[in-house]
Symmetry: C2
């Protein structure tokens, strides 16, 4: 059986002295052992490792029940969440939906997101939209008090309540939150919303395979059992304590390159639908590793689009970056370049070729050119864009991130730095319990 | 009269020794003089400087004629272009359209883009969409042979021709291309498409105020005369040879920070609609400065969304970055946070406040927190998001980019590095005239 995920490191290894790479491989295997032992930093948050094998059928059935229920009469589902409660679902839905699904969707509700910003214009315009559609809402928050989703939920809850009344509101709001604690859990219980649990031991950026990701993804018409099955494959593959485990390989390579002064990693795709997989990856690695004044800066480019914007910099700018390409072997659709009698554009040499073949040659040509220019290039190869392979890819990145963070020596499962702006914001907004410099009072929080 | 664009440098200057900053200001003024003298590197491509004051009324009228013509019966306009032939229009249209315009648009055609990638899935799915709508097409390319737009145009041209016939096709395709040379110019003349000229002395990333940007922007219902008027204001303001010229100030600050090891610039917004202004800016600065193994790496974040992904890294990761915030003083819409009797989410301390007020405190709190964390923060302040202010902002960035590139010592108006991947790609695709290593034959190109 061909592996779902293959790492091609040829064009990266030439930038790492041969006698040093073995050391990085060894460190990566040690880091994997530490991760799986549950003895490393942040080990209260390792619940994500066993999610694929541990998802009960009952959870899948509950999710399907909501899908069937809303299928009947809901046209628009507003999914409220930020960070890890937003990016996983957004990434999978964008990757697996029709590029113009907002105009051409099949049966089933459309999905829009809210609570991922504090834009007055965005929320007012969402209100314009909600008025024209039969709506329902999923609200995702462990605490229920994170400012962005809490503001959005207050508005949308009032909209639903005012429009549909108390009883029907129970059917149109689903909460995904803590098992027993927090404002949203209490609200859900008291108002009798249907609800799902975010496990205690799974952090936001590792939560795509919990209801946080699974419910919105299922509502978008994507097969979540396939998604989980792909992740399960990777749960097995990435558990192997050896150097050709793809998660070990990727973690070793990126740390080796970082040690050589490559301080920016560009996650590269050649498929516009993967844009939000990159955004999800940026959170995963940036929030896991960007601490103690270290960590690779995660950035993304969508090629060939961005070859015509960031391409010049990558080719010839500062030599502090490397590229990691998500390479998709096959397109899902079939379209060839037509013959043209006049050939004014000079493209007849491509006539009859699949467009994806040109894309592949752009991908290969870019790798050759950038390596010439001094940019290490490593490739993560998957067979095609479907739920199974995407589940595998996301799990692979999570596992590699845990390993990589341990190699770096940080706790990859906390995010203390995210609180800093909130303290100042609360003080500026005169939130009770916050002093003028944003220090919480002793008896709050 | 209040300036449209104000630079607030307080939280950046503390990272620059006082005795050094005057030197950077002086260099910036010298660079501006060089730019305006037309004696600097790449001075064949300075046509953009005088575009706002030099736009003939006739051009505006021709654009309006097309808008009026297509208004009657065109539902979907496909705009074909890549790089500078894509990002300017995309940035302005996204910034000034309703967040859900694809569902709630007023009269007038919808705009979609093509030719900005080589994705087989994207083009096949665009074909699905085109079949359901009355369509027209704008094709933008100086040469007409750039691979991505040429492939898209070949497909879309055949679609239009097959569906509407030869005569009607003349009405439904508009070409924006070179005055006299190139494949697209010849095609346009022979097929009798209506056409517009891309001036010889304006490069792609500086072309948003030529028909390249103006026609698609006008078709989206945006007032291009306001856009040009805002840019015209900045044409005057940024011509002043003094240190408080905002373009001089921004160019001096970013080069001073770069000299202190701040190698990544994060363009920050707090308004999701500005996402593509950041993408446009990344091309502008990355392609202008990323050469000779130098230049600041341009990256972008959309806050507060990305405070919950990249926020941790910015707060605590490697200290090699600084932030430039586009700060918008007023929201366009009005929405306040409602009171809630139960106050389960604890948000009643915000009840009655405008959402934008919270956003502003998030912005200010973020600045305080990141500066605490060692991240210089400079701010570009504009009054609101409208065509006039956006025209000013884009022109400001272009002028600052020219100045900044000259301070850095590069030619900010070429982009040799963009060709590198194409050579390999052409060789791999067996394009006539390209050898196996991608070297063009002597008698081609």
């Amino acid at each position: 059986m061909k592996d779902i995920i293959t790492i091609n490191e040829c064009s990266a290894l030439r930038f790492i002295p041969e006698n040093q790479y073995a050391g990085w491989q060894k460190k990566a295997i040690e880091a994997l052992k530490l991760l799986e032992s549950g003895q490393g930093k942040g080990s209260d948050f390792l619940g994500w490792i066993g999610l694929p094998s541990g998802t009960p059928q009952e959870l899948i059935d509950q999710i399907k029940n909501i899908c069937n229920d809303w299928q009947k009469d809901v046209e628009l589902v507003v999914v409220i969440g930020i960070g890890g409660s937003y990016l996983g679902a957004k990434a999978v839905i964008e990757a697996l939906s029709h590029s113009f699904s907002f105009w051409l969707s099949a049966a089933g509700p459309q999905i829009v997101f809210a609570g991922q910003n504090i834009s007055e214009d965005y929320l007012a315009e969402l209100d314009d939209l909600m008025k024209t559609r039969s709506i329902a809402c999923i609200v995702i928050s462990k605490s229920g008090t994170t400012t962005e989703p809490a503001i959005a939920f207050r508005l949308i809850k009032q909209h639903i309540l005012g429009r549909y009344g108390k009883e029907e509101t129970k059917r149109r709001i689903v909460a995904i939150t803590d098992k027993s604690r927090g404002a949203l859990r209490h609200m859900a219980d008291r108002q009798e919303y249907r609800s799902f649990v975010i496990p205690d031991n799974v952090g936001g950026r590792f939560s795509v395979l919990t209801p946080v990701g699974l419910l919105p993804i299922a509502l978008a018409g994507i097969d979540i059992e396939d998604l989980i099955a792909g992740a399960l494959n990777m749960e097995h593959v990435t558990a192997e304590k050896k150097a050709d485990n793809p998660a070990v390989k990727y973690a070793a390579l990126r740390n080796a390159l970082y040690s050589k002064g490559k301080k920016i990693e560009l996650l590269v795709n050649f498929h516009p639908k993967l844009h939000y997989v990159t955004e999800w990856w940026k959170q995963l690695f940036g929030e896991s590793e960007g601490k103690e004044h270290k960590g690779i800066f995660p950035a993304g480019v969508d090629f060939t689009t961005d070859l015509h914007s960031m391409g010049q910099y990558i080719q010839d700018g500062e030599r502090h970056l490397f590229e990691t390409v998500i390479s998709v072997a096959s397109a899902n659709r079939s379209l060839t370049i037509p013959e043209d009698l006049e050939d004014a554009d000079g493209l007849n040499y491509l006539a009859g070729k699949h467009i994806d073949e040109c894309n592949k040659m752009a991908e290969l040509g870019t790798c050759l050119a950038h390596v010439d220019g001094g940019v290490p290039n490593l490739r993560i190869e998957i067979p095609s864009l479907n739920a199974y392979n995407l589940g595998a890819l996301l799990y692979f990145f999570q596992k590699a991130c845990g390993i990589s963070g341990y190699i770096l020596g940080v706790n990859p499962f906390d995010q203390e730095g995210v609180e800093a702006y909130k303290k100042y914001m609360f003080a500026l907004l005169n939130r009770p319990g916050f002093g003028t410099r944003g220090e919480p009072d002793a008896n709050h929080r």
